[in-house]
Symmetry: C2
Subunit: 142 residues, 2 copies
């Protein structure tokens, strides 16, 4: 197999949700993500690092979806997904306090042997959301 | 609601797959991602930009999962998800040729009014995978 052309980063990741308004509010309030695009089917939110979190109403994108560029192929995720956002080590305590102040239950905190720490909590659809500090993975040393 | 502490970027995103070996080979061969960790339950692959693609065998992580740091909360996605990776505009033709050389059907190419282009194709689980160039989103101008 030929060598793959370069990838720069993840650009979009998707969560499939029951209630778009509820989920968009959650990611706006808990993470501070701004809304880029929103309609009845989906909401695109700006993630720092030139990335995008896409929230899709479950089932609403199963067939092709129209766009200004043409038909976007269908997809239809479900269940409870896992997603992790990178935070700095210096913000770990602020994140812990922020979850408490936001009435979000801290499901667990894990302190990894390699020096990273992770906070786990649930979004409104029970998706497993994590914020993690550097050194969780060897390709993210700092 | 108090202002959220900072997020730096997406650190981990997850796909739920039927056959771990098949999916890990796909992302290694098509994207060139190196494996960071792999067991029977999951495979973590390094994405450029200090990010990680997690491939989970469907159903295998539904309850808590042991780790060196303690129990990781359960999650259990299913269905066909959407994920997009950022590529440079200069690599768009190389990506088109690479998909052909890899025997991967180009489901569609979309050329967006704002100047970005996207290639859509399917992974072995029918997840909708996209590679997209800058200007797809206004928080990714170049």
């Amino acid at each position: 197999v030929a060598t793959a052309p370069a990838v720069k980063r993840i650009l979009e990741t998707s969560l499939y949700v029951e209630e778009l308004r509820r989920s968009a509010s959650f990611y706006a309030n808990v993470f501070g993500f701004a809304t880029l695009v929103r309609d009845d089917r989906m909401c695109a939110m700006a993630v720092p690092g030139q990335q995008v979190l896409l929230l899709f109403v479950k089932g609403a994108s199963a067939t092709s979806n129209s766009s200004p560029a043409g038909l976007i192929p269908g997809h239809n995720g479900s269940g409870t997904q896992h997603l992790c956002f990178s935070i700095s080590h210096d913000d770990l305590d602020a994140w812990t306090r922020h979850l408490i102040a936001s009435d979000i239950e801290l499901e667990t905190r894990l302190d990894w042997p390699q020096g990273a720490s992770s906070l786990y909590f649930r979004d409104p659809d029970n998706h497993s959301i994590e914020v993690g500090t550097p050194r969780l993975w060897r390709n993210d040393p700092a």
